[in-house]
Subunit: 254 residues, 2 copies
């Protein structure tokens, strides 16, 4: 493996799978830490705050500071701040996106918003969706933290945030803005925040359509690990290939 | 207008608009009644029972028996009975579809269904959708009462049943079965139930994609009225034209 300065990891399917750690990944990250190489966690999950994600990682034996955690919630809040700084925002979502918007001093409202921000919300209701639809029809911009149609669980696939954002978009006949992977926005934030060159960064993940495409669109190297949602076999069928395809991260020496 | 034996009316946008009656339609239906011509109401709304729809029509001054009311709930329940008679069915929906399935002695369950039936449900939750998704991934057949993406309200468009059925279908990567308009199933039920020829029937409605296409697919004459969701102008752009396009039903003499 080429020497990189910044290692960007997806979480579920890459560092852990549901409630189980993936040992090769945990070991790899520990070695990065010992060698004082930079690593980051890049997740489309907007439901958790950085502090909640940090705690979850610690339970798998991975030490990380909140500053090493980049979620779709954070990048979405930053985007809203930069493009709609003074706007009134109606939010569908859980802790993570609400916390991130709060950190960016976004003005959250229930009525007459200029922007509708949607993150995964397991308490979603018809009324929330109808409210989002009416706001968008009245001219509000529709922003989704991420476009994942489905999320893997131990029982099977459940609806992802993208499926609800697309529902609203279809009812209103608009194109939503998505900030999470595969949008390169998160990797660009990491690059800008730390002054890396793209050639010094690598994106590591199990999901081709989110993780690998994110790295490819951003323009850094990518590693596909065969420990999660999408098999190496399926990845081999894609036109744009990752830089590396491995079973797991034990194949690399640092 | 040609002489027909059976007049099939859409409801919202055709007989009334929200809470207001459409006078030309009410008068037309009264004349049908005086002349003892048959008329039926064909609605994609699966949330109300025939008795609730009958009461609603009466408030607009339209007399109809429950037997003249054909909803997507009724045709869906009949389809489930015929194709999955002994099956266990998980239902997302309101009074109308639950009543119709009950009338057909369908076995409704919460766990391990063979069929998932979805009608509009303004109490829909993430948990109900997730349950439907897992059931379909485990092999259950996905049936929607109707495929309407949006429903018009006085405030604007809100999500229709089709938008939720398509969400589940997309998460599970399956093709759902839809029974309401524009499927010709309801008109076929009316024809079979009363022994009409297709040439003796006419479908009257404001919505091209549901009402008019339903008549065209079934193979009867169609009347587009310019009193609802889709304007005559928009209808004129379509490749398949209705038999008649009118402002309202006062243009016809019976």
């Amino acid at each position: 493996m080429k020497q990189y300065r910044a290692f960007c990891f997806d979480l579920d399917g890459t560092v852990y799978r549901g409630k189980e750690a993936i040992p090769a990944a945990i070991k790899f990250i520990r070695t990065l830490r010992e060698k004082q190489l930079d690593y980051f966690f890049v997740t489309n999950n907007s439901s958790k705050t950085p502090s909640q994600i940090k705690e979850a990682l610690l339970r798998f034996g991975v030490e990380a500071s909140e500053k090493q955690i980049y979620s779709s919630a954070f990048v979405t809040a930053k985007y809203v701040k930069e493009h709609f700084g003074q706007a009134k925002v109606f939010v569908i979502g859980q802790d993570g996106i609400r916390y991130a918007l709060g950190q960016h001093n976004i003005h959250i409202v229930e009525e007459n918003p200029d922007v509708v921000v949607m993150g995964i919300d397991r308490m979603i209701t018809y009324q929330k969706l109808a409210k989002a639809c009416l706001a968008v029809q009245n001219g509000a911009t529709l922003i989704g933290t991420n476009e994942d149609i489905r999320v893997p669980t131990e029982a099977g696939f459940q609806p992802g945030n993208g499926s609800f954002v697309k529902l609203v978009a279809q009812v209103c006949n608009v194109e939503p803005i998505f900030l999470g992977k595969p949008s390169p926005a998160i990797l660009e934030m990491i690059r800008q925040g730390h002054g890396y060159q793209k050639s010094e960064m690598v994106m590591i993940g199990d999901n081709y359509d989110t993780d690998i495409l994110c790295g490819i669109r951003f323009g850094c190297d990518t590693v596909h690990v065969n420990t999660g949602a999408v098999s190496t076999e399926k990845v081999k069928e894609k036109e744009l290939q990752p830089t590396y395809c491995v079973q797991d991260l034990s194949e690399f020496e640092l």
